[in-house]
Symmetry: C2
Subunit: 326 residues, 2 copies
């Protein structure tokens, strides 16, 4: 049976109120401070957060819901968010909604029953109604990369548009005429944006062709297979834009096997390859997302929403880096 404040009171001869006050940073007389510290050490006291949260109606924890924990970008965001929240004194509960909208709702309820103070949500679908239940319960919500239209939540958005546009224009300038897009996953706002920008830029140039859009899985294998399939179906393709790290690795591997010196005739732009760019013989062009910052900013925004009720939107830019595979 773990020690309680009452035990500390008995041990020290003080009252629970004094102990509680001390634990929460109030001043007590030096003799008492010592007594309390000794008792805490002796009994191995650890505060019961459940009792505290019940009383305070706040748990000092943030719930994070992601559709898939397996990708590099998600892992990095999660690790960073968790670490940053810890610096703010918050704990983190992470749940994987497995790309399943009803599981996502169940997860929300689970977290609500745990009295989390706020939510960070990477939604399964782009449906703004998904977070209704959280707002009904009055919980602050930060949505990542989606639900732009919703005004009662904070947003953090990775703005691909510029970098994507640059990459596409660069391809066109290079003379590419059959530019393919390989993407995966759900159509949340920023994913839609990527397709939109692809369509807009190519339409402007008179090069748009729906059949050059390929949907696959968020994996190395997914990228590898999509690229092979693309070239098999449409050998005229002379450029690839790939929208996820794992897929980029796979696609690049496929190209390297496709033909010696492919980069003479085919352009390639991947994503988030910067960190590992050094390992490629041919340094790939890449749109780099601000991986390090996303987590930190995300944590800050939700804490601001929880503690000050402040809703904010934050946009992070990507950077297009031209490599040897323009």
């Amino acid at each position: 049976m773990p020690a309680t404040i009452k035990d500390l009171a008995r041990e020290t001869g003080l009252s629970v109120a004094t102990i509680s006050a001390y634990i929460n940073g109030e001043k007590v007389r030096e003799v008492n401070r010592e007594k309390i510290e000794n008792a805490i050490a002796k009994l191995g006291y650890i505060r019961n957060d459940y009792a505290r949260s019940l009383k305070m109606r706040s748990s000092k924890t943030i719930g994070v819901v992601v559709p898939d924990m397996h990708t590099k970008i998600t892992m990095h965001i999660l690790a960073e968010v968790q670490n940053e929240l810890r610096n703010f004194g918050y704990g983190t509960i992470i749940c994987d909604s497995r790309m399943d909208e009803s599981l996502e709702q169940e997860t929300f309820r689970f977290m609500l029953s745990k009295m989390v103070d706020g939510f960070i949500v990477l939604p399964v679908s782009g449906d703004p109604a998904a977070v209704d239940i959280l707002r009904e319960k009055g919980k602050p919500v930060l949505v990542v990369n989606s639900m732009k239209e919703r005004k009662d939540v904070s947003h953090i958005m990775i703005r691909n548009m510029c970098a994507y546009g640059e990459a596409l224009l660069d391809m066109i300038k290079k003379g590419r005429r059959h530019i393919a897009l390989i993407y995966a996953g759900a159509l949340v706002t920023t994913a839609k944006e990527r397709i939109d920008i692809y369509r807009d830029v190519l339409k402007d140039a008179g090069l748009y062709n729906e059949k050059y859009i390929f949907r696959t899985e968020y994996t190395i294998k997914g990228g590898y297979e999509a690229l092979n399939k693309a070239l098999e179906m449409y050998p005229e393709i002379d450029a690839f834009l790939v929208s996820n790290f794992e897929m980029s690795l796979g696609a690049l591997t496929a190209l390297n096997q496709y033909r010696e010196n492919w980069q003479k005739d085919i352009s390639f732009v991947g994503i988030d390859l910067e960190e590992d760019a050094g390992i490629f013989k041919i340094r790939p062009s890449s749109v780099n997302r601000p991986i390090k910052n996303i987590g930190r900013e995300t944590a800050r925004l939700i804490v601001d929403a929880v503690e000050n009720g402040r809703l904010r939107d934050k946009y992070l830019e990507c950077e297009y880096v031209r490599g040897d595979t323009l």
Copy 2:
């Protein structure tokens, strides 16, 4: 302000006891059942788990502490554990201890204050004392891949030895005489085992040489650089055993750049490459860990420990698959 059982009582004209009983699966009269269901829907009632846990002295959550969430294997384990625990009716709190022993202890305290019912720990170091505090508080603990000597916790171990031994013997049989090991991270039990088996097998064959052991980082880049460095320092090396997925990718890339047809003179065995093996022109040999099973078994063991107080040890085997890079 979220609805409470009291609100339901007021709404239905029943007592809180009846409501509570119903919610916990007891029988009530049909009319009352309807009343309660209606009230729950109308008020959007969600049970407050903190109050419940406070009373029950159990939170139906499991704490999971990992040293680094960034690697593929960890993320897969986490996702699987979480999903399986959900099937058992448990929630999950995941924390990254960032390879830092004092952060690990802090995390344990955080979770203890959250009254988690049990712990799954991938320890930062191999030091068995790390989980003392958890056992003192009477919490069931499942340790992954470490602390074999500790008898008061459950264990799940990925047994590399067989598969590693096979791989090494295969290399020797092939005539390799300068076999290098690339590893990373902390020396928890199974990591030590990998080095032990490497040393034992090579010593037996009279081929052991400490300088062929390279320590690097758990990343693609880490594997890439370690391999290049190894070949630069000791060009006589004619075989590589690499002990993590990300590093294997990097090392393989480095080899592919090193020389055309390297596999004629150099053997390579990576880890967990099975899933992506199809993407390589040269199908790599690989020691495959039972990624899918680890999470499931882990969840089962901790639930068994929590609910039935049963301590168990489980060993999972790896499989050595010879590819074209023997």
